[in-house]
Symmetry: C2
Subunit: 312 residues, 2 copies
């Protein structure tokens, strides 16, 4: 059976694994992303990770058909180039991702495929995870940012400029406080990401008079579990903002299932229950029974989805 190597290339770490043609992750390895060393150095380290996996695959008798990458940033999936990226990886924008990896690995450029990591994540869940067997799914990830991918018939809708899925940057009634719009990471304001991301929860807690000694969103969740009113309010409000956005997007895109993932989706019922209630309130009648699923593949989703690019 054919096998592929899937790579999940993020701002902090890069994970890669060998995936069978039916979507089983056989083994994987992880390395820190050299996020301050420039695009070339990141490619060098990624190629070294892949080379190690190829040796291991060869020793086990697997042949590798190709390499798929799910990468941070806006990825031109046609040319295999990083169109733009945040400063999470210095010098990542402009990197010739697929061609650079292919050259370092000594394989044809066409044997390497790449998409944005949220699309890879959604592809993995659609292939082997929560949305397996569906004709369409919308995965929304709520974490440091808010992103999504609509997978139609096994392919993500990437958008004309490969920007599709930026659901964090639609307007949210929750992204207003003290009479003004909250600033968004994109430079705009009043967007879903400003109300429903992880950092938005910490910011809301501070606005509600929470102690500045509470350092981050994780600590706000801990306080919320202990019953702190400001922490509970901040978590509940962000969860409602997330659910409202997810429900509205379901009305627009009408996927067979919704898949919710990201750090906040893993944070427990304090977030999940108000998110889901707000989501249900938004839905048009024909959608009221749309399945709202938690992602199931965890850290392997983007590796598996990236590998799927090779087989598709």
């Amino acid at each position: 059976m054919a096998h592929a190597i899937g790579i999940d290339l993020g701002g902090t770490k890069t994970a890669a694994g060998v995936v069978s043609a039916d979507g089983e992750l056989l083994f994987s390895e992880t390395t820190p992303t050299l996020s301050r060393a420039g695009g070339g150095a990141v490619l060098d380290a990624t190629a070294a990770l892949v080379a190690g996996l190829r040796l291991r695959a060869a020793a086990d008798g697997f042949s590798i058909t190709g390499v798929g990458v799910g990468s941070a940033g806006v990825i031109d999936a046609g040319r295999g180039v990083v169109v733009s990226a945040t400063d999470a990886i210095h010098g990542w924008a402009g990197t010739p991702l697929t061609e650079g990896l292919a050259r370092r690995l000594g394989i044809p450029p066409g044997a390497v495929r790449a998409v944005n990591d949220v699309h890879a994540h959604a592809l993995g869940e659609a292939w082997r995870g929560a949305a397996a067997g569906t004709a369409s799914s919308l995965l929304i990830a709520f974490g440091t940012g808010v992103g999504a991918s609509l997978v139609l018939d096994g392919r993500p809708v990437l958008g004309h400029r490969y920007v599709g899925g930026h659901v964090g940057h639609i307007a949210s009634p929750y992204a207003y406080a003290d009479g003004g719009a909250l600033p968004c990471s994109c430079g705009g304001e009043g967007h879903v990401e400003a109300a429903a991301s992880g950092p938005a929860i910490h910011a809301a807690f501070l606005r509600l008079g929470g102690s500045p000694a509470v350092p981050d969103t994780r600590a706000v969740f801990a306080l919320a579990h202990d019953g702190d009113p400001a922490a509970r309010h901040a978590v509940r409000t962000a969860a409602e903002a997330a659910g409202q956005a997810a429900g509205g997007l379901a009305n627009v895109l009408d996927p067979e299932v919704l898949v919710i993932s990201g750090g906040l989706a893993d944070a427990g019922d304090l977030w999940w229950n108000p998110m889901k209630a707000a989501l249900r309130r938004e839905l048009l009648d024909p959608l009221v029974r749309v399945p709202v699923l938690r992602a199931t593949l965890e850290n392997s989703a983007a590796i598996v989805g990236a590998a799927q690019l090779v087989f598709n």
Copy 2:
């Protein structure tokens, strides 16, 4: 050359025309929709309209390949059935649209295709109108309601339950007044349609203290043109709500072009300019130059788009 008959079946009138395989509308006829007589009577009248066009086509030497319908309501394009509909056409929900028309016309059921009218409208603009020649377009219609259709590679994204495109039912920060969410036509609240539709403009005008003697949105526009402050404010605010929603959807779907249509898009610069300014404010950097086009086919768009279903 092959020809098809396209039908635009709305709550007030039904228009149908003969369209060539390259999208030219040769001639068309219009009849009032028998919206109080039940689904069977509507089909009878529609079949009569089509029969007349077939005779005219035959006299001119055109052969008709099939019939396409863009209809009000949620249309199951697979089975050709009206899944649900508002009361604009009594008894429309449940009507076997394609099979009923085919039987009345004496043609095979497979020769009749149907989609929702907004999808037909978008298909027409994508084929021969403002979005002709593009790989993807998002048409948003602002009128009595707010609806949309994303056309990818010549096909509309219909959704798993054929509900896709209901962009009027996502949350809008503009759909709040006096501290509460405005009611929406769907039974929910706080949605784009409650802030950006035609009726929303009249409602906003009344909330702003405008005279109850002003009967409708058309009259509010007339007052706005004359400089009435409440009318101008109501129009501008609804236009901003429309533009904000359109810009956010562009961030999510990243179409090659945006096409804006509907009664409000035809209402002149008082609406168009603040709509476009609000739209531009929402866009992510890679999208700042996305073309924002006015629909060009006017009343023939849905006829032409419905006919395209036959050729596609």
